[in-house]
Symmetry: C2
Subunit: 554 residues, 2 copies
């Protein structure tokens, strides 16, 4: 293998490490209606409510389109629309608190009035969890709560406002010799409160674990305005139920996360990144096992992306091939799929020895065709862009149906082929690409289905088909994106009726008036529930369900 | 530093890596009454209940001292008494199910009859959480549910019955190239279900994180007998609330954990262990920071134990000094405190280079007096025994009041000195030793107060004094042992009234009849609660509270 001269990459490789700033406003308009059921128990927003908010919040922190607010409804579009332009609410009131006390005052009023509340972070979610479904919810945007409260260098414990942007926190920590335990494409916009509320996974999970491993405590404003002050920052505390884990991944349906206490690992001075080209998916399965075994404690990411992902990021045909030649430093690069392998460690020479030994072994074997090792920070960044640019490139290529599933890695290829076959046979050309990639180190497959437009017929072709497929493999229909609006009604594909019942009990105990992020996570009636479980739905579902969907939807 | 010839250690160093097998029966008798409030809403056990259990359980799995059972009450002592002999119940019925279905049938009956239920694992707990407080609870001992259900070598996911012994699981995994993510002194007796239910921490947490990081899913029999089947074993699953985290650390008060799905890390082929002697605690603080920075990803344990711990394990005076000479390979070993540093990694040469570089730097500096590096498995095991033998040695030296607290490591020395001063001034010689040690890598200090006997006066001298002291440092009154019976009423020293309220709501939602492990974790009335919080309790508490306690108790 040649240590390739990687630069320069073509201009159209998006430099996506820096996130989706203001993306919400660049995807206006949508054809997909909110799928959540109406919430009749909630009150309607009135001018008197805005007046009350203005009694304790500066006018600059209140944006409302009903008197006495003076904002045009269109100016609220950015808060009402998710960044894909797929989910669009019509809230007439956005509040931007600066302090936990302000959030508490807001919640006290909303609780008393039974007003729905949507907590909103960086609005980079993918399932419509961060935007309202109707016009009467109050949006609490946490963006102005962006202060780092404390950092203890000896314990590595960081305490920060929920509205701190992930990348900002990481930059701060880097200067202190630490690093955030999570990393994801939206890092430039997403906020730590949103990360916690969605249990965001991303790229470093194979090394540092999920947020359940790293969140030590939370400050949460409960629906009635009382403040759960749980920012103790202790690594160990076995005094009663570990409540903060309930808010991790609750998508704002149990309370508003306003502060986060997080264990941050030491920065690894040595980071290495290798890109491998493999002939097929069978080779991937073999290589991933070897990588785990040989790199052990320094392995920090293993990412997979196939030929469709390469093409959507780098261009089809000649354009994509030119990038291949540059990246791999060879005149001819055989076709195949890709693995990105990152190591992070404390002694560069040791890591390079381990990685080089591994790569030499792999290149001597039948499973790796060629490879490239990043030589400096710039090359490392550009190599990561090949993987991190996929979602954005799909968004530019068309309208995207995103599936984020956990399935055993032995089944990834089956899932992708089944879906591609269905698209080819039944979508009548409406589905243009089925792009496959994901965090293969932890079994999390992403599938982006790229289409010319959002269309009910396509949705019906894909759903619940995808969920049935995943359920049949013993997987999860949402590995890291959450349920939000998109998947709430499909919860029984991954959870049992008893689990749903217990979740509803928790919801009723914490949010008895049902004001928190209405319509998200827990459906009024889940698919399968009315028939007492999914058995009826699943019978023969993979064989025939949805067969006539496209016709019906036309 | 000399790489010492460590063997042979004197015979009286207990080989405690193998746990507390049958320890429960070796500490009979107790003076400490159960401190939980009575549970008047629960029913009394009758012969008809035993008859019902015998209708679906083989006689060998039912031990009852009331007709139609034929067991002598004394034969139930082992199940009724915790291993320290401190907490003693009088249950007349012990059931030993072999399957989840049997647990379900048991719970269905107990729910219908409103009978209290105590789930019991290896009975190695330290706060009385695993034994009954009265005579009407049914003990469900999980010891016969000891099958490994599945292991996936490619993902590292282990699925096992709750009654599997920790050490058995570790031995099984080692043969597969993996390792349990937790390790503790009681490994030879404690069970994985109990580990999960108490969120056991132990020795590897600094490397692999808590059980919240590693438990992927649980099978739990709910109080009404329904089975929560959550053993999916997916690393990522964001579909609704992450319920299983509620059962981690709930000490059996929400349901009976019957199965565990766990992420197990790959076995590190290279393990190194160094013991350092430092002049004082100030040196420890400095060295721990250096150790973290230099060993990075291969650091797997940092354990602290002071001169009192050395003495209780190895003997006072000449006996202890002789062990010192052997362990450190020197004629004269200066007095001081001790740090045990373990590394685990994939390439032995790399780890030894890192560790040697660190040790050379430390021995050149002012903070380390001498040190020793284990040369083989035997020496490594014996060196670990110096640390792991402390709890058992204290138990042999007298009756022990155990405190397991989280406080910032900067405060450890203050906490120990304050307590020693109090013992010297006020215990009239009843307190013989205050032994300090702990997991300094994660801020978890253990204090064993060794006395000639259990005595109400000593308890009143120590409690709530210890809890006030910890609270004043922003710590937790139970880092890893849980609340059980011992600390339930003191929960407000580490949690707020709002947190307690939410915990009670969760308890009411999951266990509406209050039959699960009654009297544990959540007190009927917490200390401080009747006065609307702890403010009144804490005012001036450290100065004067408990001053007359010893007199009053005499």
């Amino acid at each position: 293998m040649v240590r390739s001269a990687l630069s320069p990459l073509p201009r159209h490789v998006p430099l996506l490490r820096h996130g989706f700033a203001n993306a919400a406003t660049s995807f206006p308009g949508s054809t997909a209606p909110p799928s959540a059921p109406p919430q009749p128990q909630l009150a309607s927003l009135t001018p008197a409510d805005i007046e009350h908010f203005l009694s304790f919040l500066p006018a600059s922190q209140v944006q409302a389109s009903l008197a006495p607010g003076s904002t045009a409804q269109a100016d609220l579009d950015g808060y009402n629309t998710d960044w894909m332009g797929k989910y669009v609410g019509r809230s007439r009131c956005v509040l931007r608190p600066r302090t936990t006390d302000q959030v508490s005052s807001i919640m006290r009023h909303c609780y008393a009035r039974r007003l729905g509340v949507v907590p909103q972070g960086g609005n980079t979610g993918l399932v419509g969890g961060g935007v309202p479904t109707g016009s009467d919810e109050v949006i609490i945007n946490l963006g102005l709560m962006n202060q780092i409260r404390a950092f203890n260098a000896s314990s590595g414990v960081l305490t920060a406002d929920a509205g701190c942007v992930l990348q900002t926190l990481n930059t701060f920590l880097t200067s202190k010799g630490h690093v955030m335990p999570l990393d994801l494409g939206a890092k430039g916009s997403c906020q730590i409160g949103g990360n916690v509320s969605t249990n965001a996974g991303g790229l470093r999970m194979v090394r540092y674990g999920s947020l359940h491993a790293n969140v030590l405590g939370l400050e949460v404003v409960m629906p009635d305005g009382r403040v759960l002050r749980g920012l103790r920052g202790l690594r160990k505390d076995n005094t009663g139920y570990h409540l903060h884990h309930l808010f991790v991944g609750a998508e704002g349906t149990l309370g508003v996360v306003t502060g986060v206490s997080l264990l941050t690992p030491p920065l690894s001075p040595a980071v290495n990144l290798a890109l491998l080209r493999l002939p097929d998916y069978a080779a991937v399965l073999s290589v991933v096992g070897t990588v785990r075994a040989k790199l052990g404690e320094i392995l920090s990411a293993v990412e997979y992306f196939d030929e469709t992902a390469w093409a959507v990021v780098n261009g089809d045909g000649a354009a994509g091939a030119e990038v291949e030649r540059q990246v791999f430093g060879a005149d001819t690069v055989p076709p195949g799929v890709n693995l990105l392998i990152e190591t992070s460690g404390s002694v560069r020479e040791h890591d390079e020895e381990k990685l080089t030994a591994l790569l030499e072994e792999l290149l001597d074997g039948p499973h790796v065709l060629t490879g490239s090792l990043a030589q400096d920070e710039t090359q490392l960044g550009r190599m990561w862009d090949l993987r991190e640019g996929i979602a954005e490139a799909c968004g530019k290529a068309g309208k995207v149906y995103k599936y984020d599933v956990s399935v055993p890695i032995q089944e990834w290829q089956n899932v992708l082929s089944t879906l591609r076959q269905r698209a080819a046979e039944r979508s009548e050309g409406l589905i243009e690409r089925v792009v496959g990639f994901g965090h293969i180190g932890d079994g999390n497959l992403h599938i982006n289905v790229v289409c010319g437009r959002y269309d009910k017929a396509i949705e019906q072709l894909l759903e619940p088909f995808m969920f049935e497929l995943v359920e049949s493999k013993g997987g999860s229909i949402s590995a890291e994106h959450g349920l939000g609006v998109q998947k709430a009604k499909y919860i029984l594909y991954s959870k049992s009726p008893l689990e749903l019942e217990l979740m509803r009990k928790v919801k009723a105990a914490f949010d008895p008036r049902g004001i928190m992020n209405p319509g998200k996570v827990l459906p009024a009636v889940a698919v399968g529930e009315e028939r007492g479980g999914l058995e009826g739905v699943l019978q023969g579902a993979l064989a025939g369900a949805g067969a006539g969907a496209l016709e019906a939807g036309k």
